[in-house]
């Protein structure tokens, strides 16, 4: 790939100081480093992955609205976590988390536990209570 062919398609990196570095050929046929802020096929691969994650989360959201699951189940899904990962991060035992995935048990949670979940999931307690 030549230097001027290095893609600058933008995408998720644009707003950060994270960049892709490519090794590309300059006019003398020597390799050099070129910064890139994104390549469309890659951005599409990533956005497709996220669309799928959101779709699956949407399914769970419906179940939350129908009262079959607690909002915690939804937040697990969007954070790509399962029970054992949430347990490892929050220090809350798996058995309890399983229980808290049921709406009636989630309703009964005290402030401290809610705060722990919210912190682990990087959201506020109010956001945690909604799906």
């Amino acid at each position: 790939m030549k230097k001027e062919e290095v893609p600058q398609d933008g995408g998720y990196l644009e707003k950060t100081n994270v960049r892709d570095v490519y090794y590309a050929l300059d006019e003398n046929g020597d390799y050099c480093q070129v910064l890139s802020d994104g390549w469309e096929p890659k951005t599409e691969a990533l956005s497709m992955t996220w669309d799928n994650i959101r779709e699956e989360a949407e399914e769970v959201r419906k179940e939350v609205i129908d009262g079959k699951k607690s909002p915690l189940a939804y937040h697990l899904q969007v954070n790509l976590m399962d029970i054992s990962l949430l347990s490892a991060y929050s220090g809350i035992p798996k058995k309890l988390i399983k229980k808290h995935l049921q709406p009636e048990e989630f309703e009964k949670l005290d402030g401290e536990t809610l705060e722990k979940y919210a912190q682990t999931l990087n959201i506020t307690v109010d956001e945690l209570k909604k799906a």
Partner: protein, 336 residues
């Protein structure tokens, strides 16, 4: 305090951290040189390990290998440590910083605040170098960034003790002593190339190297039948993400390897090696075209969309080209 450390962006996190640390100690090696000496070009396809329900496909060796191999071949003594006690790991880090030692850290990116949100998966094999601390805030050199970044004590600790698949356990590594700032690169380059040929050609099970590419191709022919259109498309997108994921230098490290071979041709004074550089560049272009066609496929857009059979044919071609390439390269290096 902040160590007088020069931050250079790099394509890949581990080769970037290694190159930056070695340069701090006066050993001038470029990132491609680090990749080449470390034998860092690879491919693995492991259908028996699942990540988010998909087989693992990767273009990089296991974390830690590049740093270990390169420092060994350049006569640099290193230390490394993992921890169970999180606060202790931070204290030990501080002690090294106080002694003006830049410290490589293996971290997870899920909680890494300066990464774009869309890049924050539960991926626990990222590398950064911690180079300073002011009050509660650490200065870090992340090769994927153009400038220094900062992390608070809690943020850094959280990333160092990420959970999930392959947790890093606060792993940190640093240089203890350097024998010479001008090590002989020639033997290091030759053994790096030999190792890379071995890893691409000789691993006797079919999941790695050129065999892995061929195996993935044969599985890909059935993806649509076996998984349905949607899951097949997701799997293809996953492959493209790994191939072009941030930190490969394009086309799954193939371009960076070409840059290495070009530099090696100069160091070894073997201009013929530039032909090898050109050839792996062409193979990189094939990977790149594959990614381009694959994106059309999984987005189901544009004209002349390829079938999975046709995409698999492309991979078979790549696998054969890489096999021929590494056999030829090995022959050349063995004769040196």
């Amino acid at each position: 305090m902040k160590i007088d450390f020069k931050h250079s962006p790099a394509a890949h996190c581990e080769s970037g951290v290694t190159s930056n640390i070695l340069r701090f100690y006066g050993i001038k090696v470029s990132e491609p040189m680090v990749l080449g000496i470390g034998g860092g070009l690879f491919f693995s396809y492991m259908p028996f390990i699942r990540l988010h329900g998909m087989p693992v496909m990767s273009f990089r060796p296991l974390p830690g290998h590049i740093f270990k191999r390169v420092t060994k071949r350049l006569n640099v003594k290193i230390s490394g440590r993992r921890f169970l006690d999180e606060d202790k790991s931070m204290r030990e880090l501080d002690k090294l910083l106080d002694r003006n030692i830049p410290v490589g850290n293996l971290i997870g990116v899920f909680y890494l605040p300066y990464f774009p949100k869309e890049y924050r998966f539960h991926f626990n094999a990222h590398n950064i170098c911690v180079v300073g601390k002011e009050g509660d805030v650490y200065t870090v050199s992340d090769p994927n960034s153009t400038t220094f970044n900062t992390l608070t004590y809690d943020e850094l600790k959280r990333c160092r003790f990420a959970k999930g698949t392959w947790p890093p356990f606060g792993k940190m590594y640093w240089v203890r002593s350097v024998k010479t700032t001008a090590p002989d690169l020639k033997p290091a380059i030759i053994s790096g190339i030999k190792l890379n040929c071995k890893r691409m050609l000789d691993i006797p099970i079919p999941y790695f190297g050129v065999k892995g590419i061929a195996l993935m191709a044969s599985k890909m022919r059935n993806w649509e039948k076996r998984l349905g259109a949607k899951k097949a498309a997701l799997q293809l997108a996953q492959l493209i993400r790994m191939l072009e994921e941030i930190g490969t230098g394009g086309a799954g490290f193939r371009y960076m390897y070409a840059a290495f071979l070009q530099e090696a041709a100069g160091v070894l004074d073997k201009p013929e090696m530039k032909d090898f550089s050109r050839e792996i560049t062409e193979i990189g272009d094939l990977w790149r075209n594959f990614a381009y066609e694959a994106a059309h496929k999984f987005k189901n857009r544009g004209e002349n969309i390829l079938t999975y059979e046709q995409l698999a044919d492309r991979l078979v071609e790549i696998s054969e080209r890489e096999k021929a390439f590494f056999i030829k390269l090995r022959k050349f290096v063995n004769a040196l």
